[in-house]
């Protein structure tokens, strides 16, 4: 070192030297300085997305192992491996290699079960994470685009799961593909062609498993990986949302630093997720394809069920009345088209566009970094719960045969109950959720004005019993009153924001009506005056 750099000593440790090496080539010190101590807020619900990410990593690791032994071919072989019940039976190489992985590759069954369990956890975590984002309003500006990316990840995860489920060519997965073929055939005009191109001719053909293999191990995981990368970069760049609380506002983020706390917590949590999936896979059997046998189009087992995330489509198919139109030499199978494509199409489109719809209704152009408590947006929460109820009814009817056999009920009456509940359930859920939200808001309001119930009953000299209320802390009082209470728009406000005659009165009327529906009924926050009145006994 020359005298020109007197203050900076040359690094002496190995890590220091490595850092210097990298910085001289990549200039990373600037980014490291900013990001190493980046603050992340803490809440249990923020780890749901982490579970999805970690189970995806588990899927990649176990999936790579499986590709080393799986043979994605529909060529026919005669089985003579160590699982004797299948001895001498003809099957596809795909099925035979899956049985081999399960019985003749050490650790193979574990990897298969880890892969399958991780897939179930992956879709589950994405779903719950997405619901968390929805119910807390974390999709609001500036995060609408990341919501869309997350939505695409959700759809990709479903596709990926179904493709993977179909690869072993066992009786259950073949049945699933047969249903998929029936669904594709129901698409008007192009359905038959799409089916023939996808299967390489008539069902089942010899091409589908190798094609699904490319889709399952290259195309979709590649897209998922790319989308996850963008998803996380945006989370990092836009900074995480946080819950309301003292000292927490829209202009800051309060929490603990990435290094060391979140490195340890998030890193540790990855191993916890992986560990739990491994334990499950060691203890609980999943998809034992050797008991189902190879796929033969004429065989079926009663009570067969798809993986959980396909269940809602199954229920939808089961409860649909048998409508079919025949006209001009064509058939429109509404009994298949509506439940398997139209219903999920509407459900998923609604999910994707909701942030934009709500932004249009509220006209809100602000950035939001403080999460909504679900109770404080009753109509949004009620819409969400109604959607979940709709999904849940479909999902439950997907197991109508199991319900019928377990509870000795008639299959017909369960299906009919489902046909009504699928409409009445969400309507009831919407109504009751809004009532509950208002009730919770009112209880918050009381808490702010009169304090928390202390659990101490006192008796006055006159013999009257009453409960002591202890006042909230300043922090809690702020926390319960910082949320927005939205007001509906009048037609004039909706149509004529700047005093300029409205170009489209009908649209304004619609918007005013929707805001009335959204915000017409509401609980006002207590004001400072009301609070003052409450603590001074209401006397001015």
């Amino acid at each position: 070192m020359t005298a020109t750099t007197p203050d900076t000593a040359a690094p002496t440790t190995l890590g220091g030297k490595a850092a210097e090496y990298l910085d001289e080539r990549l200039g990373i010190a600037g980014a490291a300085k900013k990001q190493l101590r980046k603050i992340f807020p803490d809440h249990w619900s923020f780890m749901l997305g982490e579970i999805a990410l970690y189970s995806f990593i588990v899927l990649l690791l176990s999936g790579i192992f499986l590709t080393l032994f799986f043979n994605p071919s529909m060529n026919e072989v005669t089985y003579n491996g160590s699982y004797t019940p299948l001895d001498g039976i003809k099957m596809s190489e795909a099925y035979a290699s899956t049985v081999n992985i399960s019985f003749d590759v050490r650790g193979g069954l574990l990897m298969r079960q880890i892969h399958h369990w991780a897939a179930l956890v992956f879709v589950m975590a994405i779903t719950v994470h997405m619901l968390r984002i929805f119910f807390t309003g974390a999709f609001r500006k500036p995060r609408e685009l990341n919501w869309l990316i997350g939505f695409l990840l959700f759809v990709m995860a479903l596709l990926e799961g179904f493709a993977g489920y179909s690869l072993p060519d066992d009786l259950l997965s073949g049945t699933g593909l047969r249903i998929a073929e029936g669904v594709i055939l129901s698409i008007p005009i192009v359905g038959t062609y799409v089916s023939f191109f996808l299967f390489g001719g008539e069902f089942p053909g010899h091409d589908l498993v190798p094609r699904l293999f490319s889709i399952h191990i290259l195309l979709v995981p590649g897209l998922i990986l790319a989308l996850i990368t963008v998803h996380l970069i945006l989370v990092f760049y836009q900074k995480h949302t946080q819950w309301a609380g003292p000292g927490r506002n829209n202009e800051n983020v309060v929490g603990l630093p990435l290094l060391p706390v979140y490195t340890a917590k998030a890193g540790g949590f990855f191993f916890v997720v992986f560990g739990v999936i491994s334990l499950l896979s060691g203890l609980v059997s999943i998809n034992p394809i050797w008991t189902y046998g190879p796929y033969v189009p004429t065989q079926i087992t009663a009570g067969s069920q798809p993986d959980w995330y396909i269940g809602f489509l199954e229920g939808s198919l089961r409860m649909m009345p048998n409508l079919e139109w025949n006209f001009w030499g064509h058939t429109l199978s509404l009994n298949v088209l509506i439940p398997s494509l139209v219903v999920p199409g509407i459900l998923f489109t609604g999910l994707a566009v909701y942030p934009f719809l709500e932004a249009w209704i509220t006209g809100d152009k602000r950035e939001h970094h403080i999460l909504d408590r679900p109770r404080n947006m009753p109509t949004r929460t009620a819409i969400g719960v109604a959607g979940c109820t709709f999904y849940a009814v479909l999902w439950i009817v997907g197991g109508n045969d199991l319900i019928a056999t377990h509870f000795h009920l008639s299959l017909e009456s369960i299906t009919w109950a489902g046909r009504f509940t699928v409409f009445l359930g969400p309507a009831f859920a919407f109504w009751i959720t809004r009532r509950i939200c208002f009730g919770l808001q009112r209880s918050d309001r009381d808490k702010v004005l009169h304090g928390r119930e202390a659990g101490i009953i006192i008796r006055s000299p006159e013999g009257e019993f009453s409960e002591v209320h202890s006042p909230l802390s300043d922090g809690d009082r702020y926390k319960l009153t910082q949320h927005d209470v939205h007001r509906p728009l009048s037609i004039a406000q909706a149509a004529d924001p700047n005093g300029v005659p409205a170009p489209n009165l009908r649209k304004a009327k619609l918007r005013a009506k929707i805001t009335e529906w959204y915000f017409g009924t509401r609980i006002e926050k207590p004001t400072a005056e009301e609070y003052h009145d409450a603590i001074t006994g209401g006397h001015h």
Partner: protein, 366 residues
């Protein structure tokens, strides 16, 4: 609106002095919101943990973390030992799991504990010994400041200007044209993914005189099987069957059987409600397609007394005593009936192919 809701609305319309409008700088025409009645008291003071103030507790936590890490390392090594030492065919049987592969059980449990304790150790370390003093970091508005934005727009416009794309519509339009047609080949070259459907979905392997083979008599390799004689089928019984052509289909067996599988049932001819069904059967033996007309699962659950046939996938139910018509469930069309008779040797054979396409509906079906 219920009385209570009206009440709530009124509450909402009460004029409170402190209600602020647009204090957050909404755009015009946005829904109004009420302002915050109480001021933010600021971050609550940090409450120290036991490990922050008691060195003994901190030491104990340190030992616990180290123990978890040690456990993890031990299980990782044990995993490798289990991999080599446990024979892959060994079975262990214990409550409440039952008989399972010993190797899978050991490997899964050891790997699980190794991973879990490593993760748990790290999290416990973070929660007990690393800092838990929360502190704030500023957020900055994501939007660029107006000047930066104006400069970016200017740079962009300069770029567009330099390209001359606005002034030269010929280049612009031909570029657009070439970019529009360019992606089409990506779709075009998928043509050879499969043959055109033509009318393959309308035909099966059944033809006049095609012998009906009982599935239960077919050899393991699928190349030999026996025909069905009428006296083999007793009243109330159900026989799953295939065309003789299936025995020599080889690799195409699944494609063939996916359309041509049939079910034979025999009922008292007096129970058959349709004259056509009786004519297409033989002495009360009738053959129906086994492929559900809903989405193609094999129908398999037969109820002798009612002659109902149920598809286990989506519970479409067909009445086999009345032309296979749908009596419940999502299927829209009857199960197609295969007209049968007996040949010179007394075996059941098809009179001809199905009159209607079997399996799920498709657009061209009509």
């Amino acid at each position: 609106m219920t009385a209570e809701e009206t009440n709530l609305t009124e509450l909402g319309h009460d004029e409170h002095g402190a209600v602020a409008v647009d204090e957050h700088g909404h755009g015009h025409g946005a829904v109004e919101v009420a302002g915050d009645p109480f001021t933010d008291p600021g971050l609550e003071p940090h409450a120290p943990r036991v490990t922050d103030i008691d060195e003994k507790a901190a030491k104990k936590a340190e030992r616990q973390v180290a123990l978890l890490f040690l456990l993890s390392a031990a299980c990782t090594i044990a995993f490798m030992v289990a991999y080599t030492e446990i024979p892959k065919t060994a079975i262990v049987d214990f409550f409440p799991i039952g008989a399972v592969s010993a190797s899978n059980f050991a490997l899964g449990t050891l790997l699980g504990v190794a991973l879990f304790s490593l993760g748990a150790g790290a999290i416990y370390w973070a929660r007990t010994l690393m800092t838990d003093v929360e502190f704030p970091q500023e957020r900055h508005p994501l939007a660029s400041d107006p000047q930066t934005r104006a400069e970016a727009i200017a740079e962009f416009q300069q770029g567009v200007e330099d390209s001359g794309i606005k002034r030269r519509p010929l280049i612009r339009r031909t570029l657009l044209l070439s970019l529009t047609v360019l992606p089409l080949p990506a779709l075009w070259i998928l043509r050879d993914l499969g043959p055109l459907p033509e009318n393959t979905l309308r035909h099966t392997a059944w033809k006049a005189g095609e012998r009906i083979i009982n599935d239960n008599t077919v050899s393991l390799d699928g190349t030999t099987g026996q025909g069905v004689k009428p006296e083999d089928v007793t009243i109330g019984s159900l026989v799953s069957a295939r065309p003789q052509a299936a025995l020599s289909a080889g690799e195409d067996f699944n494609d063939l059987i996916a359309k041509s599988a049939v079910l034979l049932v025999r009922m008292d001819p007096a129970d058959i409600k349709s004259q056509q069904e009786r004519d297409w059967g033989y002495q009360g033996i009738v053959a129906f397609s086994k492929i559900c007309t809903h989405v193609g699962c094999p129908v398999a659950l037969y109820e002798q007394q009612t002659h109902h046939m149920l598809c286990p996938c989506h519970q479409s139910t067909f009445d086999l005593s009345e032309d296979g018509k749908v009596i419940f469930g999502p299927a829209a069309r009857s199960l197609p009936q295969l007209p049968i008779t007996v040949d010179a040797d007394g075996y059941l054979v098809a009179q001809r192919d199905f009159d209607a396409p079997v399996g799920p509906s498709f657009w061209e079906r009509g």
